[in-house]
C-alpha cells in the first residue's frame, strides 16, 4: 500500500520469495544433475552477495566495488577452519598440508582461533561486518561518497589481494586454499552431504531475500532510499546519514561473508582469483542486469549472468567476454533499472494502456489554486500584483 520506491507489496514479496524457495529447494534438486546442482549452488553464493549489493548500491546508492574483500574474508575464514579440521583428521599433525609444503611446518598464531567451529562461524559474519563498519564510519563520516567511495572500495580489494598473494606460507598465495575433505565432520565426497550443502546455501539465500524484503518495507529502508536520493536533506531532518549508510554497508558485507563461507565447501577452493578487482565488479554486473533497486532483480540477475557465463564460455570462451562487456554497457546505458524495470514497464503498459498519455491528477488540497509556474524566481520580484 505504501507504493513508490519499487517496493513490492507485502503479498507480492511473500509470493515471490515463496516461488524462489519452491524453485531452488524443490524443483531444482528434482530436475538437475548433481553436477548442475553444484553449479547452481555456486551461483547461489553469488546471489547472496548480490542481495547485499542490492541493499548497499540499489537502495543506498553506495557502489561498492570491494565486495570481494568481504566474500574473501568469509571464504578464507571457512577455508582455514576446514584446512585445520582436515589436518586433525585421523590423528594428523594439525598442520595444514600446504604449510608443510611451503612454510616451516608451524601454524601461525592468527590461524589458531579458526580451529574452533563456533569462532569460525562467528567470524564469517562478524569480521566482514566489523571491517565494513570501521571503513564505513571512516569514509561516510567525512562525507566521502560516490566515485570516491567506489574507488576506495576497489583499492581495498586490490590491497587485500596483494596481501594474500604475498603471504604464500600462511594464505596459500595465488593457489589459495583448496583440497578440503570434510565440512564440520561430514565428508565432502559424499553426494548426500553435498546435497545438504546445496540446501543450506539455497535456504540462506531465501532467508537473505526475506531479510531484504523486510528491510525495504521498514522505515529504515525508506530512510536509506531518502539518504540515497537527498543526503543533505536527511541530515537537516536530524539523522546522521553516515550511520544509515554504514548499517546498510555492514549488512551487505556480512551477506558477502556468509556467501564466501558457503562458496568454499561448495566449490572446493578459495583463491585471490575469486575475489580480486575484476570478480568484485563482476558481482555488480549481475545486480545491474537484474535490476539494482528491486527485491528479486539482484538475485535473478546474479544467477542468470553466472549461468550464461558458464554455458556460453564453455562453448565460445572469447565470445563470453565480448558478450559480458556489451551486456554491461547496454544495460547501464540504456536500461539502468535492469531487467526488473523492463518487467515493470511491460506490466504498466498491460494494466493501464493509456496512462502514459494522461496528465497527473489535479492538485488535491482544498482551496489550492492552480500550480504556479514551475520556474522559480530567485531574483527579487517586482511587486506589481500588490495593488489593492
Amino acid at each position: 500500500m505504501t507504493g513508490g520506491l519499487g517496493v513490492p507489496s507485502r503479498r507480492n514479496a511473500l509470493a515471490g520469495t515463496g516461488a524462489l524457495a519452491l524453485v531452488l529447494l524443490v524443483v531444482a534438486p528434482l530436475m538437475l544433475s548433481d553436477f548442475r546442482l553444484a553449479l547452481l549452488g555456486k551461483f547461489i553464493c553469488f546471489a547472496i552477495v548480490a542481495v547485499g549489493i542490492g541493499i548497499a548500491w540499489g537502495r543506498g546508492g553506495m557502489l561498492t566495488l570491494g565486495q570481494g574483500v568481504f566474500f574473501g574474508i568469509g571464504g578464507y575464514a571457512m577455508a582455514m577452519h576446514l584446512k585445520l579440521a582436515d589436518a586433525e583428521l585421523n590423528g594428523g599433525s594439525g598442520v595444514p598440508d600446504f604449510m608443510l609444503l611451503y612454510g616451516d611446518g608451524t601454524v601461525p598464531g592468527w590461524w589458531e582461533p579458526f580451529r574452533s567451529p563456533l569462532f569460525t562461524l562467528l567470524a564469517v559474519v562478524a569480521l566482514p561486518a566489523l571491517l565494513a563498519t570501521a571503513l564505513g564510519l571512516a569514509i561516510f563520516k567525512r562525507r566521502i561518497k560516490g566515485a570516491y567511495f567506489a574507488i576506495l572500495s576497489q583499492a581495498m580489494v586490490a590491497a587485500f589481494v596483494v596481501l594474500l598473494v604475498g603471504q604464500q606460507q600462511t594464505t596459500g598465495g595465488t593457489n589459495g586454499l583448496n583440497g578440503f575433505r570434510s565440512f564440520f565432520g561430514y565428508s565432502l565426497s559424499d553426494p548426500a552431504n553435498r546435497l545438504t550443502l546445496y540446501y543450506l546455501a539455497a535456504g540462506i539465500l531465501v532467508a537473505a531475500v526475506a531479510l531484504s524484503a523486510a528491510l525495504q518495507r521498514s522505515r529504515f529502508g525508506e530512510l536509506l532510499v531518502a539518504t540515497r536520493d537527498a543526503e543533505e536533506r536527511v541530515r537537516f531532518l536530524g539523522y546522521d546519514p553516515a550511520l544509515v549508510k554504514t548499517v546498510a554497508f555492514a549488512l551487505a558485507a556480512a551477506l558477502a561473508g556468509v556467501a564466501g563461507a558457503l562458496f568454499v565447501p561448495i566449490v572446493g577452493i578459495i583463491s585471490p582469483a575469486d575475489i580480486g578487482v575484476v570478480p568484485s565488479i563482476v558481482f555488480i554486473v549481475g545486480v545491474a542486469v537484474g535490476g539494482r533497486a528491486g527485491l528479486f532483480g539482484p538475485v535473478l540477475g546474479a544467477i542468470g549472468v553466472a549461468w550464461a557465463e558458464t554455458s556460453l564460455s564453455e562453448a565460445f570462451p572469447s565470445f563470453w567476454s565480448y558478450f559480458q562487456g556489451a551486456l554491461l554497457i547496454a544495460v547501464i546505458a540504456l536500461l539502468p533499472g535492469g531487467a526488473a524495470s523492463l518487467v515493470d514497464r511491460l506490466r504498466e503498459r498491460a494494466t493501464s494502456p493509456r496512462r502514459g498519455a494522461s496528465s497527473p491528477p489535479a492538485a488535491g488540497a482544498a482551496g489550492t489554486p492552480a500550480p504556479a509556474a514551475a520556474a522559480s524566481t530567485p531574483a527579487d520580484r517586482p511587486a506589481e500584483e500588490v495593488h489593492p
Partner: protein
C-alpha cells in the same frame, strides 16, 4: 645514508610510473568527473602500439620515439570514440559511467587477447636505454630515468597547455563553472571532447613507456588502474599539481614502508594511509574553491 638514497631513488621511480598512469586520469576524472575504467585499457593499447611499431620499423630506438606520438593518437582516438558513443550520454551519471566503461575495458582486453594472444609480447628496449647509471650512490637503470623524463615532459606540457593556451583556459573555465562557461560562449561539448582525447592520449603514451619496465599483455592496464585512481583521489579534484604531489608522495611512501616490511604489506599500508589522509582532507591535497552549498 646509502639506504635513504636508494629508497629515495626507488620512491621517485615508483612515483614517476604512478604519475604517468595517473596524469591522463587527472584530466578525465579529476577535471571532468568521468570515471573511465577503460583508462587502463587505453594504457594497454599504447603498449601494444609500441609493440606493433617495433614490429614494423624493427629498430628499437627509432620505434620507441615513433611510438610515443602514435600511441598518443591511438589513445586519443579510442578516447574520442568512447566519449562520443558512451560517456557524453552519461555525464550526469558518474557511477554508471564507471560500470559502463568497465564493460568497455572487458571488451578491449578480449580484443587484445584475440589479436595478440593471451601471453605477453616482447618489446625490446633500445640499446641506448640499456645499462645503468649511478644516482645518489644508487644504481638506476636508464629506463627509469627515461620514464622520469617522459613524465616531466608530459606533465610540463599539460601544465603549459592548461595555463597558456586558449584551449587550456576553456578547460579550466569549464571545470570551475560549467554553466557560466557555457553562457560565456564556450562550447562545453567541444571542450569535454578535447579534454577526454588529451587524457586518453596521455594513457597511450604511458603504455609505450611501461613496455620498458614490465611485460606487455592484455591485462597490463588493470594492474595500474587502481593505483592511478588512488593518486587522483589523494591529489584532489581538478588539480595537476595534486596528482604530481600525490604520485611522488605515494611512491616515496611505498619505497620507505617497504624498508621495514614486504612489498605486499607496504601496498596494504598505503591504502590505510590514504584512507587516513582522506579523514583529514576529504577533498584530497588540493581543492578547487567554489561556493557550492546544499
Amino acid at each position: 645514508m646509502d639506504v635513504i638514497g636508494s629508497q629515495l631513488v626507488a620512491g621517485v621511480s615508483i612515483g614517476s610510473v604512478l604519475l604517468l598512469v595517473a596524469i591522463g586520469l587527472s584530466l578525465t576524472f579529476g577535471q571532468m568527473g568521468v570515471i573511465n575504467m577503460a583508462h587502463g585499457e587505453f594504457i594497454m593499447a599504447g603498449a601494444y602500439t609500441a609493440y606493433v611499431v617495433q614490429q614494423i620499423l624493427g629498430d628499437a630506438g627509432l620505434s620507441l620515439l615513433v611510438a610515443l606520438p602514435v600511441a598518443f593518437a591511438v589513445g586519443g582516438a579510442l578516447g574520442a570514440l568512447l566519449e562520443q558513443l558512451l560517456v557524453r550520454h552519461m555525464y550526469h551519471r558518474p557511477l554508471d559511467t564507471l560500470l559502463a566503461t568497465f564493460g568497455v575495458s572487458l571488451v578491449l582486453q578480449q580484443l587484445a587477447r584475440d589479436i595478440f594472444g593471451a601471453p605477453a609480447v616482447d618489446v625490446r628496449t633500445p640499446s641506448w636505454l640499456q645499462g645503468n647509471v649511478e644516482v645518489l650512490g644508487t644504481v638506476v637503470p636508464w629506463t627509469r630515468l627515461f620514464i622520469l623524463g617522459v613524465v616531466v615532459v608530459a606533465v610540463g606540457g599539460l601544465a603549459l597547455l592548461l595555463t597558456t593556451t586558449a584551449l587550456g583556459r576553456r578547460i579550466r573555465a569549464v571545470v570551475l563553472n560549467r554553466q557560466l562557461a557555457e553562457t560565456s560562449g564556450i562550447s562545453t561539448r567541444a571542450t569535454d571532447r578535447l579534454t577526454f582525447v588529451i587524457g586518453s592520449g596521455l594513457a597511450g603514451v604511458a603504455g609505450v613507456v611501461l613496455t620498458l619496465v614490465g611485460s606487455t599483455g592484455p591485462t597490463l592496464g588493470t594492474g595500474y588502474i587502481v593505483d592511478a585512481f588512488l593518486v587522483v583521489v589523494a591529489g584532489g579534484i581538478g588539480q595537476i599539481r595534486g596528482a604530481v604531489l600525490a604520485a611522488f608522495g605515494l611512491g616515496l611512501l611505498q619505497a620507505f614502508v617497504e624498508l621495514s616490511t614486504t612489498a605486499s604489506i607496504a601496498k596494504f599500508l598505503i591504502l590505510v594511509i590514504v584512507v587516513a589522509f582522506l579523514q583529514v582532507r576529504p577533498q584530497g591535497l588540493f581543492t578547487v574553491r567554489t561556493r557550492s552549498l546544499a
